[in-house]
């Protein structure tokens, strides 16, 4: 038997596989298909303080091995989340991480402040990197300064560990990651989606009502993997890798490149059992390769 557990320092995970925000609903949507207890963790759908209506449809366009979404963070807000969802999530024995959104800097603080008082949350993931919010774009993760500001504001009041979710739409990802670390972030999740678009040549209209959306899925994996490798070699806090993970082998690429854990996004839509299958495939790989503890392979890329 392989030990699949991962110690992030501030949080122990059963295994390195976490369901990514926005692709796993509030978690409960997947209980008909899989045993949620088996997951390393669940990041619930992004939450603003108040309920949010999101963008008009069409909100989704498929591209080659990818997916552009402009959901616009439609969601139920912190109050309904605490009342309707959190109590039900308590039944599951897995790390519950809340993806925290804000239209302005103080909103991140309000969300965290509100949730601080609620039980059943293991950590916050700061979504400072959504490329398609309704208001067209508070995206602090595009600059080291704004990243620093939001992360340090939240860290000041947070009673729980904070994971900062970065944007891949930047020239120098290492600089932003270092800035999140300096602001006290406990971990980094890398990355959110790429700002993208698609055109319907018959109607000559954008395929998304919002024109722009975020590209996810296998198409982006090679770029994010490169960023994870660059960042993991430079920061001291753990890096969680995500982008296009569909299989155990994809997850392994991230772990070997330096990620301590991974999140699985788009794959959940395609296959609601994806997370479980990936965990099984990780275990198989370890058994086959005589790896006793999966943490051993983190950051073991051989470059010489």
């Amino acid at each position: 038997m392989t030990d699949l557990s991962i110690d992030l320092g501030f949080l122990k995970l059963k295994n390195p596989v976490i369901a990514a925000s926005g692709t796993f609903g509030y978690g409960l949507e997947f209980s008909p298909f899989i045993n949620l207890d088996k997951l390393g963790g669940i990041v619930v759908k992004g939450l603003y303080y108040s309920p949010c209506q999101g963008n008009p449809p069409p909100r989704l366009a498929e591209t080659a091995s990818g997916l552009i979404n402009a959901i616009g963070l439609q969601g139920i807000g912190v109050e309904r989340f605490s009342e309707e969802i959190l109590p039900r999530l308590k039944d599951y024995n897995t790390a519950i991480i809340v993806n925290v959104c804000g239209e302005y800097e103080e909103e991140y603080v309000s969300v965290v402040d509100f949730l601080n008082k609620k039980e059943g949350i293991s950590a916050y993931e700061l979504n400072i990197s959504c490329p398609n919010t309704k208001k067209g774009g508070l995206c602090p993760a595009l600059s080291p300064e704004n990243t620093y500001t939001v992360v340090s504001l939240v860290k000041k009041i947070s009673l729980r560990p904070v994971i900062t979710k970065l944007s891949p739409n930047v020239t120098d990802i290492v600089e932003i990651a270092l800035s999140a670390q300096e602001a006290g972030s406990d971990a980094i999740s890398l990355a959110n989606t790429f700002l993208a678009m698609a055109v319907d040549v018959e109607t000559r209209r954008p395929k998304l009502a919002n024109i722009f959306g975020g590209l996810s899925g296998p198409a982006i994996k090679p770029i994010i993997l490169r960023m994870v490798y660059q960042v993991a070699s430079c920061v001291k806090i753990p890096v969680i890798g995500l982008g296009g993970i569909m299989s155990g082998s994809d997850a392994l690429e991230y772990l070997i490149a330096g990620a301590k854990a991974v999140e699985v996004g788009t794959a959940n839509l395609v296959d609601p059992e994806a997370t479980i299958r990936i965990i099984d495939e990780l275990e198989e790989y370890c058994v086959k390769n005589g790896i006793k503890k999966i943490e051993e392979i983190v950051g073991t890329l051989i470059t010489q």
Binding site: G25, P56, P57, P58, A219, N268, L269
Partner: protein
């Protein structure tokens, strides 16, 4: 909601661009209701990435049938599958048509346009089982768009066919045919699926005549089971209008709830 990774294609029927696949999937067959749908994985590889939604066209014992028009990458790949191939499917998903004893010995009308006929065959079977007296209007651009006409006739429904070009049946839009026939009879309920402008027109007629009507809507679906919020449509709920996930709360909605898209009046 069941995931069946190995639903075997036990029968395939094709008419030019339209195809019917009968998938052996006993558990989904047991639970599926008219108006519900399944999500079909097209390939195990990464392109096309997403599953595709298809209404349950019929349930035949252990088999779930879908009927579709090959119109893009996904449906064209699907149309190339052969008998004995297996498909990974999820279902039954969504909420179907409102069916109850209320329809017994009553006149109900079903109106399908093009591939919109898909869910209506199953619906008609069930309504007929419930004792309703059924008229089916089935329209298409041309004769080739009415592949199910013989099957509907054979099943004993009262059928009304139209083609835009007059190559078969009434010449013109199915909505005009329906409107004309309404001079003669008044159903107690209308069920419809087809292009939005067609459904919008029917909704208008129905509301004018105060006939309750239900429609099966489409939208781009990322997951089909409520997780991604991509499939929303603006739906009227009392005085409020909200973006509602049609994969969960639909795809069937009543005329009062639906806000038709611009230009679909």
């Amino acid at each position: 909601m069941i995931k069946d990774p190995q639903a075997c294609i036990v029968r395939k029927e094709s008419w030019k661009d339209y195809h019917l696949l009968s998938l052996e999937s006993p558990k989904i067959a047991l639970e599926g209701q008219p108006g519900q749908f399944i999500m079909v994985r097209i390939t195990e590889h990464s392109h096309p990435l997403l599953r595709r939604p298809f209404s349950i066209h019929s349930i035949d014992g252990r088999n779930v049938e879908i009927f579709f028009l090959s119109s893009g990458l996904g449906t064209s790949l699907l149309s190339q599958k052969k008998t004995n191939d297996t498909l990974d499917i999820l279902g039954p998903l969504g909420k179907g048509f409102n069916l109850n004893d209320h329809f017994k010995e009553k006149d109900v009308t079903i109106i399908g346009g093009g591939r919109g006929i898909a869910p209506l065959y199953f619906l008609a079977q069930r309504l007929s089982f419930l004792g309703a007296s059924i008229r089916i209007f089935y329209g298409g651009k041309t004769l080739a768009d009415l592949p199910l006409k013989d099957k509907l006739k054979k099943a004993g429904f009262d059928t009304f066919f139209s083609t835009d070009d007059g190559s078969f049946g009434f010449k013109g839009l199915i909505t005009d045919f329906f409107k004309a026939e309404l001079e003669i009879f008044t159903p107690i309920h209308i069920f419809s699926c087809g292009p939005e402008p067609m459904m919008a027109k029917i909704a208008k007629i129905a509301q004018k005549k105060k006939i309750p009507a239900e429609f099966s809507l489409e939208s781009v679906m990322g997951c089909g089971f409520g997780a991604c919020w991509s499939c929303v449509r603006k739906i009227r709920r009392g005085n409020k209008e909200e973006w509602v996930k049609i994969c969960e709360e639909g795809p069937v909605f009543s005329a009062d709830e639906i806000i038709w898209k611009e230009g679909d009046k």
